[in-house]
């Protein structure tokens, strides 16, 4: 009898112990993720300016956000940057992955070279590209010294073009990562499908276009998701490369939020802009998470 009671007690203990162990992380996540989202949301409906206050103001901060020319610049830049960064990054990554998948002799070395920028901070990347794209000593100067004295490449200091320098540096940093994702996807494809197609006389480009690339759909899905996510959150690169300038011509939502909340003393507008960022991310991520979690359930 005694041993049985012991085992019942043990069982009960084993039942609450795991819950107790995850409880701190769970509670902290509840507070610091969900609690803070609500808190931040509340601030965005308050009259907060220099200091947070909790006087209800309705949509005032959102109205002033959407009337702010700078916010529109940030949204437009996010659109330009997002489309180009995701588009070029995905294409370049896929292209390199396909080339690398042709039984290349030095594949390992090339892979490390393509991927190393991902280990660097965006601040380091921004600093390096700022120097390379600098008109007085950088690329422009270099091409001029090659015998093209009228060549100009002033994107970095041209308000119309500066956002494209952010794209260049962003693609440089992230495309190797996309390559790694696609390469992993390519390695997961069953060779026998390709062999069968070859036996049928299909050419290699045709096999890639018709069979292999379509079967990489899930990889496309997660790549685009990750790059979109990086684009919406991009802050460091803008700060290091252009510092939001010239003027505020390369501002993005994340740097806009920082400027308003921590430099201009416009807490309410800052909170409203971060809530908008949350909404943008949720629009992309929630369907993704949903499908991922369904996948988890299916697999185990």
């Amino acid at each position: 009898m005694a041993t049985q009671e012991h085992s019942v007690g043990q069982k009960r203990f084993d039942q609450w112990l795991p819950k107790l162990v995850v409880a701190p992380s769970f509670i902290l996540s509840l507070i610091f993720i969900y609690g803070f989202i609500i808190w931040n949301g509340y601030l965005s409906f308050s009259t907060s300016r220099m200091l947070p206050n909790y006087e209800w103001a309705g949509m005032v901060q959102y109205e002033s956000l959407w009337q702010n020319a700078r916010w529109w610049v940030a949204i437009k830049n996010l659109g330009i940057f997002g489309v180009l960064f995701i588009g070029i990054g995905t294409m370049l990554g896929l292209f390199l992955a396909i080339l690398l998948d042709q039984k290349i002799r030095v594949e390992g070395a090339l892979r490390s070279i393509y991927l190393y920028p991902m280990a660097l901070s965006f601040i380091v990347t921004g600093t390096a590209w700022k120097w390379i794209l600098n008109p007085s000593f950088g690329l422009e100067h270099l091409v001029q010294s090659w015998g093209f004295p009228n060549y100009t490449f002033d994107w970095l200091v041209n308000p119309e073009k500066a956002i494209y320098t952010v794209v260049i540096a962003g693609v440089w940093q992230s495309s190797g990562f996309v390559m790694a994702l696609f390469l992993a996807g390519l390695r997961g494809i069953d060779d026998s499908i390709i062999k069968a197609a070859q036996v049928d006389g299909a050419s290699l480009p045709r096999i890639y276009w018709r069979i292999i690339i379509p079967s990489l759909r899930p990889v496309f899905f997660s790549t685009i998701m990750i790059l979109a996510h990086l684009a919406i959150k991009s802050f460091d690169l803008v700060m290091a490369l252009t510092n939001r300038g010239p003027g505020y011509s390369t501002d993005m939502p994340a740097s806009f939020m920082y400027t308003m909340a921590f430099e201009r003393g416009q807490l309410g507008v800052g909170a409203a802009s971060s809530t908008m960022m949350l909404a943008m991310l949720a629009a992309i991520v929630v369907p993704y998470l949903y499908s991922e979690l369904r996948g988890y359930k299916k697999n185990g």
């Binding site: 701190p24 993720i33 931040n40 660097l120 390096a128 971060s274 991922e292």
Partner: protein, 282 residues
């Protein structure tokens, strides 16, 4: 495949490699040139001699605003932030992942999905409440404030990593051990942890890289004596006192990137796995 096709293939791959290597080459060569050489020479020119003056200056005497002590203090702040934050967040991730796979209970899947959102959330959303909270806790001026933030925001990804890894460890191992009378912690120590070396490496490297490279939290939550290296580098580059010294900027950028580059070249395999773990399941 025809010989000419293979030649084109290798050429394209090499050009791509040059594109990725070029900025590193420019950074390295610029950092060992003198300012005269930079002004009169070209961006891609090989340095005529190696001068380590810029490196010395970047490390301990370049100005980062009003303070002129180089990157050194920032570098050590980053070390002080990274070490505890990485260890704590990895430990929490391991134990959470263990519970969420081997000791599932009613609602544990919901807990996991709720925590997962932390991986995707735009961090801007927590900045304002967090800075208030850190203020109340009296942590705004010390490195411990940043340690706290990084641990809190890291739990989601470390838990995800360990959970995905532990799913593939057969439940039978745990069941057999339970029948033998082993308890929750004993199984974790004796069975699960010894099998976890690869995922611990992946998580360590992932967290190290992310926290070392973080700029957002660093710039928002640090006091004058707790700024991390990324903030130091950014201040150094954007300080506009006197003549712009590009060689010092480049040396500083390399110093800031060195620890993560080192890890990448030593344990690149785990780094790549970490990158893909969040994206491609497994």
């Amino acid at each position: 495949m025809a010989k000419s096709t293979r030649f084109i293939l290798y050429t394209v791959l090499l050009i791509a490699a040059l594109f990725y290597l070029l900025p590193m080459y420019v950074m390295l060569t610029t950092s060992v040139k003198t300012m005269d050489e930079i002004r009169n020479g070209s961006l891609l020119a090989f340095p005529t001699g190696i001068s380590l003056e810029a490196w010395g200056k970047a490390w301990d005497s370049a100005c980062t605003g009003i303070q002129c002590s180089g990157l050194k203090p920032f570098f050590w702040n980053s070390v002080k932030i990274v070490v505890p934050a990485v260890i704590l967040s990895t430990m929490l991730g391991a134990i959470n992942g263990y519970v969420l796979t081997k000791w599932k209970f009613k609602g544990s899947d919901i807990i996991f999905s709720m925590m997962l959102f932390g991986v995707f959330m735009p961090l801007q959303v927590v900045l304002l409440p967090m800075s208030q909270t850190l203020g109340w806790m009296g942590l705004t001026e010390s490195v411990w404030g940043l340690v706290t933030v990084h641990v809190l925001m890291g739990i989601a990804s470390t838990t995800l990593f360990f959970r995905n890894y532990y799913v593939s460890i057969p439940d039978e191992l745990v069941k057999a051990a339970t029948l033998d009378g082993a308890g929750f912690f004993r199984i974790f120590w004796r069975i699960i942890l010894p099998l976890s070396t690869p995922i611990i490496m992946v998580t360590f490297i992932w967290q190290f890289t992310n926290i070392w490279n973080d700029f957002l939290f660093g710039v928002v939550f640090s006091g004058s004596d707790s700024k991390p290296i990324t903030v130091g580098l950014n201040n150094l580059v954007n300080t506009s006192t006197g003549v712009k010294e590009y060689n010092v900027d480049m040396a500083a950028a390399i110093i800031a990137g060195l620890p993560t580059m080192f890890i990448y070249f030593v344990a690149g395999k785990y780094f790549v796995r970490g990158l893909t773990a969040g994206a491609v399941k497994g």
